[in-house]
């Protein structure tokens, strides 16, 4: 980790200026999204009232809506979005695989299976369910990666996706078996299975917040090491990078980020896939910039999707997990169709 960055050759002068400015701009956009998220909703509340709710809380109905509904979901959106964006960037950088993504790698099904089994078999309920979700997500990610990278050849995009699909099939079978026998579990899992920022107990967020923050900090520090990994294992080792250490730390980061994000908001597809690709268009391949960009853009995508979900169906809300899946799948397919898919 003490490695000095072998930064990718020649960032152009334009890019050297553009990258910090762009990051500031992205942060400003995120600020805008956060403001929108606490002021827009099916209950129309004047901006002045929103401001008053934040600074002069009077306990009235409108103030309560802002404080106990909109602020928590905004915080959740920012952190979960940042975590998923970072997790995607980390997975793609580590595996040098453009399709690596928490959802494709079976994290969602692992968490779902753990939630169902622990709530039905072990009787876990309420906020305590966060731990099974966390552990299930982590185990699934590790299992899929281990299966996909087996053998001498590197883990190719197809392999990881297939390993994820195979594991997801088995876990889904188990989940289906349990919920068919237990109406109560089915009723719970059908709502949990849709990734959402509302209806989650904010207590859950506070429980996983330390893990989220630790994962985000750890990952943001890994830019230089990931740059070395991008050169290939042999070259990286000859430059002094300790590849096993880097891989182990990255695995810890992925587990912290995916586990905590899925535990807090439920399964959310494709954010981790799309965001690093958009970030790469802006920053180029340098991970020191790619990672912070991925975090900020991920937060923007999730809060913006959440706001859109409140507006798109009048009088009702569309969960953020649905929106990201419908927006993300076409991007995934476009990536699969592009000729450069095999390279990164």
């Amino acid at each position: 980790m003490a490695l000095r960055a072998p930064s990718p050759p020649g960032p152009t002068r334009a890019r050297r200026v553009a990258r910090p400015t762009g990051l500031l701009l992205a942060l400003a956009v995120l600020g805008g999204c956060v403001l929108l998220s606490i002021s827009v909703g099916s209950k129309a509340i004047a901006p002045v009232e929103v401001w008053n709710a934040l600074v002069h809380y009077d306990g009235g109905y409108d103030h309560d809506v802002v404080r106990s509904l909109r602020v928590p979901r905004t915080i959740l959106g920012v952190f979960v979005g940042a975590a998923l964006g970072l997790a995607g960037a980390l997975m793609q950088g580590l595996t040098r695989n453009p399709l690596a993504e928490p959802g494709i790698l079976g994290v969602n099904s692992g968490a779902a299976a753990a939630v169902v089994v622990s709530s039905v078999v072990l009787g876990v309920s309420g906020t305590a369910l966060v731990w099974p979700a966390f552990i299930g997500a982590a185990l699934a990610a590790v299992a899929v990666y281990a299966l996909g990278s087996r053998g001498r050849a590197a883990a190719t995009p197809v392999r990881l996706a297939l390993a994820g699909t195979a594991l997801a099939a088995v876990l889904q079978g188990l989940v289906h078996g349990v919920v068919v026998l237990n109406d109560f579990a089915f009723d719970r899992i059908r709502f949990w299975q849709v990734g959402s920022l509302v209806g989650r107990d904010i207590e859950i967020f506070w429980q996983v917040a330390p893990f989220l923050v630790a994962g985000i900090v750890l990952t943001l520090c890994m830019g230089p090491s990931l740059n070395a990994v991008a050169l290939g294992d042999d070259l990286a080792a000859s430059l002094g990078a300790r590849i096993p250490v880097v891989r182990a730390l990255a695995a810890v980061g992925i587990i912290l980020l995916c586990g905590a994000a899925t535990a807090a908001a439920g399964p959310i597809w494709f954010v981790g896939l799309v965001i690093p690709h958009i970030a790469r268009i802006i920053t180029g391949p340098d991970q020191r910039w790619l990672l912070p960009y991925s975090a900020v853009l991920g937060a923007i995508l999730l809060t913006a999707s959440d706001v859109v979900g409140r507006l798109v169906v009048p009088g009702a809300e569309l969960e953020v997990g649905i929106i990201t899946a419908i927006v993300g799948a076409p991007v995934f397919i476009a990536l699969v169709r592009s000729r450069k898919m095999a390279q990164l």
């Binding site: 995009p157 079978g173 059908r190 597809w269």
Partner: protein, 362 residues
């Protein structure tokens, strides 16, 4: 070195390929190659599935002794025996056989058309599309039995077509097909989840069971439907078996051998899709039989290409066994058979990937 060489079989007396025996009945007016190993495997599979069928007809809360089963099937014996066998258990088991055979054949055809072990309806989005179509029909339109079946078929066909078109770019490549299928399936699964959260609990439960695939309560109407479809569409595919095996050698080679590749592709794809649709209409989108059956059959018969007969026998055996497990594993509760096939099939897929990648092959 010379020892091992000398142990190799000498040049065969006939010019038949290894492992085949030329058969010329009717004084040579008909002539074809038979593979004794394939015949033996198919025979064993038929015996196993017949025995499992008898077993699943006999066991249950009301036990029919195995020795009484054959008589009861034809309406003789004790009144209650005949009632349970003829009215409930036999149609269910025969549906399982038919659906399994149909899925096995369709899977084999899909795999040989895409020249890819993973080109089965499960991976290319057919199953996922059918599940979504059925769930939409139940929850959004409140459809009845027939409407749900039609919704499932439409969903499956549309999804398969979309996946196929999106994967097309200088021809369809196997892996692109697989990846596009995975992406579309992910999107559809979140659409299903959305519909589930907006429905009443009882409706959602019904949709959930249909979505997994189940043989509970299937009667003679379903038996007739699936077997008629299997005989008609399977017949077409069996007639195309030779051409399909040539197609596995590559388009150019197949053309060189006199196969009209385009029409073969279209006819086989249409018939296999319709067959899958029929199986799904009867039993719901039962997963992984179409993926695993042709591969298992191929490994057992040690044949170089897909064998449609072997795949059909294997599919039927797999589903009959899986249904017996689904019936008895948590008796008296009946699991949907799709749960069993997903767990078994998914594990098999993991094993397949695990062993194929061990040697470092991609």
């Amino acid at each position: 070195m010379s020892d091992t060489l000398s142990k190799r079989p000498g040049p065969a007396r006939s010019h038949a390929p290894h492992g085949t025996v030329p058969v010329r009945p009717l004084r040579g007016r008909l002539s074809f190659l038979a593979r004794p190993r394939t015949l033996a495997v198919v025979l064993v599979l038929v015996l196993v599935s017949a025995f499992t069928l008898a077993l699943s007809v006999s066991v249950g809360d009301y036990e029919v002794p195995l020795s009484a089963v054959p008589a009861a099937i034809f309406g003789y014996g004790e009144h209650l025996d005949v009632f349970f066998v003829q009215d409930t258990r036999l149609p269910r088991a025969l549906t399982a056989l038919g659906v399994g055979a149909a899925l096995g054949v369709a899977g084999a055809v899909f795999q040989s058309l895409s020249r890819n072990a993973l080109g089965s309806p499960d991976i290319i989005g057919f199953t996922s599309g059918a599940a979504t179509g059925a769930v939409a029909a139940i929850l959004a339109f409140g459809a009845g039995r027939l409407g749900v079946s039609l919704g499932a078929i439409a969903g499956g066909l549309i999804t398969a077509a979309v996946v196929y078109l999106l994967a097309m770019k200088n021809g369809v490549q196997g892996y692109r097909l697989v990846l596009v299928g995975i992406g579309i399936s992910a999107m559809l699964s979140s659409v299903r989840d959305y519909l589930m959260t907006r429905a009443e609990l009882t409706d959602a439960l019904g949709a959930q069971i249909w979505m997994i695939g189940s043989l509970n309560g299937r009667g003679w109407a379903e038996v007739a439907a699936v077997w008629i479809a299997f005989v008609l569409l399977g017949g077409v595919l069996f007639a195309y078996a030779r051409r399909l095996r040539f197609m596995e050698l590559g388009d150019d080679t197949a053309r060189g051998l006199g196969v009209n590749t385009r029409s073969t592709q279209i006819v086989a794809f249409a018939a296999a899709s319709a067959l899958t649709g029929a199986a799904i209409a009867v039993a719901g989108p039962i997963g992984f039989v179409a993926l695993a059956a042709p591969q298992l059959a191929r490994r057992l018969t040690r044949s170089g290409g897909t064998t449609l007969v072997g795949a059909a026998a294997m599919g039927a055996t797999l589903l009959v066994v899986a249904d017996l497990v689904a019936l008895r594993a948590l008796a008296p509760t009946q699991l949907p058979v799709g749960v069993v096939t997903a767990v078994i099939g998914g594990t098999y897929l993991i094993w397949l990937l695990y062993t194929e990648w061990r040697g470092g092959r991609a």
